[in-house]
Each structure stands twice: as C-alpha cells, then as structure tokens.
C-alpha cells in the first residue's frame, strides 16, 4: 500500500472512531426505538399482562388506519395545524415588522414580544386555563362565557387550545422573523424608495421576498410542531370534550397510558408510525411546493 493510501485509511479510522459515541447514543435512543416501534405494530397485545402477544402482521395497521377514530383524530390534527400555523406566522410577522424600527424604547416591546419563548407549555396551559375558567377567568369576566364553558365546549375547545399554542410559539416566531428582517440590507429599501416604491410596495416587493427563506422555515417547523403538540392538550382538555381535541399525539398517549385499562402498545405503535409518515410527507411536500417560491440570497 502506498503511503498516501495508508494515511487515508488511518484518517478514516480516526474519523469513524470519533463518530462512535454519537452513533451509539443515536442507536440506543433513536434507531432502535424507531425500528422496534415498527415491529410492535405487527403484534396484537394480549388482554392481560404476561400472556404471549400475537403476530397479526399488517392487519393491525389496516384496521387502525381505516378506523373512524383514526380519521377523526387526523382531521382534528389537521384542523389544529390550520388554526395555529398561519395565524402564528401572520402574528409573528406583524409584530416583527412593527418592532423592527429605530425608536426609543423599542427594546421593551421586543422583550415583551419574544418573552413567550421562555414560557413552558405547562405554564402557558395553566395561565390560559385560568383565563378560560368559567368562574374566576378573565374571559368570562369580560363577558365571554358561553355555556358549556369554553374548554368543555365541543365547538370551542380546539380553538382554545390553538390559541394557547399560537401564544406560546409566538415568541419563537417573532425572534425568527425579527432576525430575518434585520438581515435585509437597508439600502434595498432605500433603492426601492428612490425607484418609486411606497411602504406597501416595499413590504410586498422587498420585505416578503427577502424574508421568504425565514417564512418558509417557520412554516415547516410550525407545521411539524403543530402535529406534535401534546402538553397543552393534555393539560387543558385531556383530549375532550367528546374527543374533539384528540389529536394524533394525544391518541397515541391514550393507548399507552397505564391508567387506560385497554392500553394497547401495538395500536400506539401503529399510530406513531402513521404520524411519522404524515409529518415526513408534509415536510417533503412543503419543500417541493413552497421552496420553489423561496429565494435564497447568496
């Protein structure tokens, strides 16, 4: 072997050697559970512990994925994403544009707008539960007090949880979009102003296109976030009323919740696999469809 080949081999060994720790962690906490989950979905769990589980292959996948329960849960999840993602980005954009001025004291507003990034889902859920509370809540005090109460109301519960989610993610969206805005060179706005563009034209012809990579990124992660939301649903509505907030993550959780006597890890596995492929598919579609309209400055 030539000296060069030997050196290359040695470098490769060192390189892979350095990757081993990370690979091990990924293997134990990501790859193994991921594959194991697929496998779990092929077995029907016994009604009582310690009995052997039964191989049913794709039957369980088929049964669950065609059930009304799954379809309803998926519809709820999609509705939830539609309620949270566009509203969250729209609000984040509006606040970021408003705060992106050189004014005295603007830092105070920036801090307020981004503060929810430091709030946990649990805190947000508790705050809003209090606001929605039919007896001591702020909204009922303001006269917004439908019967049944907001979070027990089948027509309003999902919207209420969506509101909490928008509020809680607003800080992150605001920071993301603010960073994107600040990266737009000032002289583009000046050039546009001299080229005859008023503020509206500058917003649509300069700000939005220059911000498109950021908006695209916010859209993709926002959607993935929406499909994975769990904490606020668990804490505020517990999937109810009448399963009207039973999004996929919550349905998965219900199936493995030990309080649930009919817990079925196999079913939960099937639902998680479904959620995985749906999220993956969404991300791919967004990349293909949306990214064509995105301009990446070089």
């Amino acid at each position: 072997m030539s000296g060069r080949g030997r050196r290359r081999r040695r470098e490769a060994i060192v390189g892979y050697g350095l990757l081993v720790p990370a690979l091990l962690i990924f293997a134990v906490f990501v790859f193994y559970p991921f594959l194991r989950n697929f496998q779990l979905g092929f077995y029907l769990n016994p009604p009582f512990p310690n009995l052997p589980r039964r191989w049913v292959g794709f039957d369980q996948y088929h049964d669950i994925l065609t059930s009304t329960e799954f379809v309803n849960s998926l519809k709820t999840t999609i509705a939830f994403a539609f309620m949270t993602v566009p509203a969250g980005i729209g609000l984040g954009l509006a606040l970021a544009v408003a705060a992106n001025r050189k004014l005295k004291g603007i830092g105070i507003y920036r801090t307020i707008f981004s503060s929810t990034v430091a709030t946990s889902v649990a805190v947000a859920a508790v705050i809003f539960s209090m606001l929605f509370n039919p007896i001591v809540g702020l909204l009922p005090w303001l006269g917004i007090n439908p019967t049944p109460p907001i979070i027990e109301n089948p027509d309003l519960a999902l919207g209420a949880v969506a509101l909490v989610t928008v509020w809680q993610t607003l800080g992150l969206t605001f920071i993301l979009i603010s960073a994107g805005l600040q990266a737009i060179p000032e002289d583009l706005y000046e050039a546009a102003a001299l080229d005859g563009a008023g503020s509206t034209t500058r917003f649509w012809r300069v700000t939005i296109p220059m911000l498109s990579p950021t908006l695209f990124f916010a859209f993709v992660i926002g959607t993935i976030h929406a499909f994975q939301s769990f904490g606020q649903i668990d804490l505020i509505t517990g999937g109810g009323p009448f399963k009207r907030t039973n999004v996929l993550t919550y349905a998965i959780y219900s199936e493995i919740n030990t309080v649930n006597h009919a817990a079925n890890p196999g079913k939960a596995a099937v639902l998680s696999v479904a959620l995985f492929f749906i999220t993956l598919g969404l991300a791919l579609v967004q990349m293909r469809v949306l990214e064509r309209r995105v301009h990446y400055a070089r």
Partner: protein, 336 residues
C-alpha cells in the same frame, strides 16, 4: 432633466454637524462631483438630495420644486448605490424594470425601455440571470441600467466604482462620462477618489468636515486651490507646503509648490538646500523625496530621462515664482 440647488443645507446628528450650511447649484446636464475624505459629509449631502436623510436646516430644490417635504419616491431621481443594492430575488430584467413597474408604466413600454437600457449597457444577454450569478462589473452595470431606464430629473451616484477592481474602474469611468453626455443627464457623483473627480467632473465640489471648501472645474481647482486643504487633497503626489515669510510683509505664509514644479539643480545656483531621503521609481516618472534643512519633507517629480541623484546627496531645489501658491498660515486661505 433638471437642475439641483442646495441652499444653506445643514445636517446635524446630535452634536455632530455632518453638513454645514452647504450652498451648491448643479446646472442642467452638468456632471458635478462631490469630493472629500471619508466622513466629510459628501454622502450625507447626497442622501439629503435623495430624501433618505431629513434636513436640519436649509432648502433643496430639484427642477422648480422645493423637495424638503417630498418623499424619495416622488422626487423623480435615480440613484446608484456603492453596494449596487440590486434586488437579489429578481432577475436582471425585473431589476431594471422595477422603477417602471412601481410607476405603473404599461407592459409594452416597459419592455422597450428595459431593452433599450440593457442594450446601452451591454446587458442584453444577461436579462434572465439573477444578480448572484453576475460579476461585480456586471452588477454595477445593472445598477446603472436600473437608473437610466427612466428619464429622471437627475442621477445620484454614491461611490459607484469603488467596488470594482482598478482596471475595470478606469474603463467604467470613461463609459460613465460617455453615458452622461449621451443621455444629457444631470449627475451628482460622490467619491473620495480625486482621480475620478478630476477625470469625470465638469465641476468638482470639495468638502471637508461638512464644509464646502471649493467648487470649480477640475483644472481650476488644481491650478488655483482655494485653501491649504484643497491644495494638499488634490494632486498625486500632493502639493508640497513649506512654511515661510513673505518678503516685505510681516504675515506668516505657507508656500505651496506642486511636485512637478520643483526642480533639482546643481549646487552653484541659488535655491533651497535639501537632502535626498528616498527615491521612488514609478516607471514613467520618479519621485525624489527630499528633506529641507528645517525638517519639512518635499516631493520632487522627475522624468526618468533625467539623471537620478544618489540617495543621501545634498541638492538644491528651485521653482519658478509663478508656480508658487501662497496661503495665509493662520486662516489657511489662498492669498491672491
């Protein structure tokens, strides 16, 4: 096309006066260069004309309108930025077309005007590219095309050549002047490069510390600098300045002599005693740097055909009285 006029224009940023009572008249179809070192207020002055900075005091008139309160978009100006400020998400065609679209020019007319501007700047083959795919020189031409696609009152240019390499800068310099003549355009051009100012401007306005120092045709500014700052700023190498006294007067003066007007002579003739310190050969000419007895360094510009004095040699310097510029040592103003 139109004239641009500044009267008592002042800009203060807090305690700093960036532009101090600037009076300037730019004639129709004139190429006026605002020249000065960085921080002298020339860019601020240009940005006030553009409407990108508000005036603290004074009046700006474009054509027959006072434009102090008029938005940049309604001032009917075109500007070329140092960074070019091209819209990176738009093709070259869309970039050039932008000022026409915002003003609602119909499609057919837009197309013909874009084609004309692109043709004038040799961009016809690049219309579908994005700015990111162009070289620096090409981007600069797109910025120019975007400016000339309309027929504005005046063109404002903020160091448009400073991001080009030296060779391209010289070439573009000539092209810009040619373009200005062809379009019969009024141009206000900001630069810190005196060679650009000398070669391009019909007139040069020299600024320092926010104050206008002198306005005039390049040759006049070179031959009759109004004060010591202008004398030292214009010319490469700069004018030699020697402290002295005026015969028959008590006032202290500074004598200025351009390097090409200083001559080395044999020791028998009268002249100023000096020692050769450094000799710089530029190929087509030679700079002989000498130290005078009292310590001042002066530069003598010499043709290479002449015999170079040895380094460290004692020499005598002579100049014709008509080549000497006299400045008041206190006010630094030219003494007629």
């Amino acid at each position: 096309m139109g004239r641009v006029s500044l009267a008592g224009v002042t800009k203060r940023f807090g305690d700093v006066t960036a532009v101090d009572r600037l009076d300037l008249d730019v004639a129709d179809q004139e190429f006026l260069v605002l020249l000065g070192p960085s921080g002298c207020g020339k860019s601020t002055a240009l940005r006030m004309i553009a409407g990108l900075e508000e005036l603290t005091e004074g009046t700006i008139t474009i054509g027959d309108r006072v434009v102090n309160e008029i938005e940049p978009k309604d001032r009917d100006l075109a500007m070329v930025f140092q960074s070019y400020a091209l819209y990176p998400h738009l093709s070259v065609r869309k970039n050039i077309e932008f000022p026409l679209r915002t003003r609602g020019v119909p499609k057919a007319q837009r197309d013909s005007q874009v084609a004309k501007a692109a043709d004038a700047l040799g961009l016809s083959d690049l219309l579908d590219r994005k700015p990111g795919q162009l070289s620096g020189g090409q981007r600069q031409r797109v910025a120019l095309a975007r400016a000339i696609v309309r027929d504005p009152e005046a063109f404002l240019m903020d160091e448009p050549l400073s991001n080009l390499d030296a060779k391209l800068r010289v070439q573009t310099r000539g092209e810009l002047v040619e373009l200005q003549r062809r379009l019969e355009a009024t141009v206000i051009y900001v630069t810190h490069d005196q060679v650009e100012a000398m070669t391009m401007g019909d007139r040069i306005a020299i600024m320092n510390h926010g104050v206008l120092q002198q306005v005039g045709p390049p040759q006049e500014v070179y031959e009759r600098p109004a004060n010591l700052f202008v004398a030292r700023f214009i010319g490469t190498p700069p004018m030699n300045t020697i402290p002295g006294e005026l015969a028959g007067a008590t006032a202290e003066v500074v004598i200025g002599v351009r390097p090409e007007h200083l001559h080395l002579t044999g020791s028998v003739e009268d002249g100023i005693d000096a020692t050769v310190v450094v000799i710089e050969s530029l190929g087509h000419e030679r700079h002989v740097i000498c130290r005078l007895a009292e310590g001042t360094q002066v530069i003598v510009r010499q043709a290479t055909e002449l015999v170079s004095p040895p380094m460290g040699d004692a020499v005598r310097l002579r100049f014709a009285p008509r080549d000497a510029h006299r400045f008041d040592a206190v006010t630094e103003q030219r003494i007629a």
